[in-house]
Amino acid sequence: MAETTGEYIQHHLTNLTYGYLPEKGWTFAHSADEATAMGFWSINVDSMFWSIGLGVLFLWLFASVAKRATSGVPDGLQNAIEMIIEFIQDTTQSIFHYKNDLVAPLALTIFVWVFLMNLMDLVPVDWIPMLATAAGISHMKVVPTTDPNITMAMALSVFVLILYYSIKCKGGLGFLKELSLHPFPSVWAIPVNFILEFVTLIAKPLSLGLRLFGNMYAGEMIFVLIALMYSAHALGLSEGILMLSGGAMQLVWALFHVIVITLQAFIFAVLTIVYLAQAHEVDEH
């Protein structure tokens, strides 16, 4: 590894971006600066590849079970899948008391998909990027949820649903009333109410997307730093100790991270259900 610590970290945090550069035309970015120079109309190919791949894996797994689903005695895989389905259904039913065929499948998709994307965090940080480098691909970020584009895309999609169902269930006027007459039910308090409620509303997608991104990004960063410890080059005693402690730390952090990735997936799904339930809630007073 002929790169400095800074370069190593930077390399791990850079997406494989495809976009337009004025001097090079449509191409892959070879550095973070190039990626920034591409502006909005570029795409993180690695994020899209892994998120689509894992999404397809999720759909394929569940569809294969759905195709041969039997109401008789289920086999192991069907049992496991049904456990997840039942878990999501119970969660949905306990939070969301309205008639809506979208919410439960939405929560299932979010939960499993986000979980699978987070799970990529447990793959040792250098494996896939090194394979990619060997195959001639300059950058490879394998955890799509460490890309804010991915998490915010889902959060904003959920936000659109929140707006849609808010207006559908409360009516445009009702939604505006909720935004402007809520904490303080007085005409004079409308500006204050509106500011408060608007911030609350905007905070929903932001917190949803950035919480997942922040958690996964920080977790990934720590894996990268731990990896730095045992990628010490010289073979002295101190380096040996560093390598061993690095290995131990990676094990501990990975075990801890198993909880984090599951929890983050669950939080995203549950908050989606909660927000949509709030959107359906018609104010009585």
Binding site: L13, N15, T17, G19, A35, T36, M38, G39, F40, W41, S42, I43, N44, S47, M48, S51, I52, G55, F58, L59, F62, A63, V65, A66, K67, A69, T70, S71, G72, P74, I81, E82, I85, E86, Q89, D101, L102, A104, P105, L106, L108, T109, W113, D147, P148, N149, I150, M152, A153, M154, L156, S157
Partner: protein, 156 residues
Amino acid sequence: MNITSTLIAQSVVFIVFVWICMRFIWPVLIEAMRQRQEAIAAGLQAAEDADRRLQEAKSGAQDELAKAKEEAQAIIEQARGRAQQMVEAAKDEAREEGARLKEAARAEIDQEVNRAKESLRAQVATLAVQGAEKVLGESVDAAKHADILDRLAAEL
């Protein structure tokens, strides 16, 4: 870490995945689970029913058994009574038969005695006549002294 059109692409992918899940996966699995739930509920209900019916049958059998025992007891009682009656009847009959036989025997004896008395009476009358003839030396006209003879016979 820049916000790029990845955001849009990912949103589209997200919507497509949710749609596929909602359209093809969720309902199928939920339906299968619902059917199994129903089947299990029905099975449990059937087991419960069967258990209840078994209990009912058991208590019914118990009742039947008790009734049969009672009936058997009654029949035995009746049979015993009848046997007693039959023995009594046989005894009575035997007693009657004995009495009848005794009566018949007594009547026969009486008859024999009477007959013997008659014959003796006749013989005595004849002997008396013969004796009187010998004593008187002449014949006694039976016709003439018939009333005397009869009186005599009656006295014997």
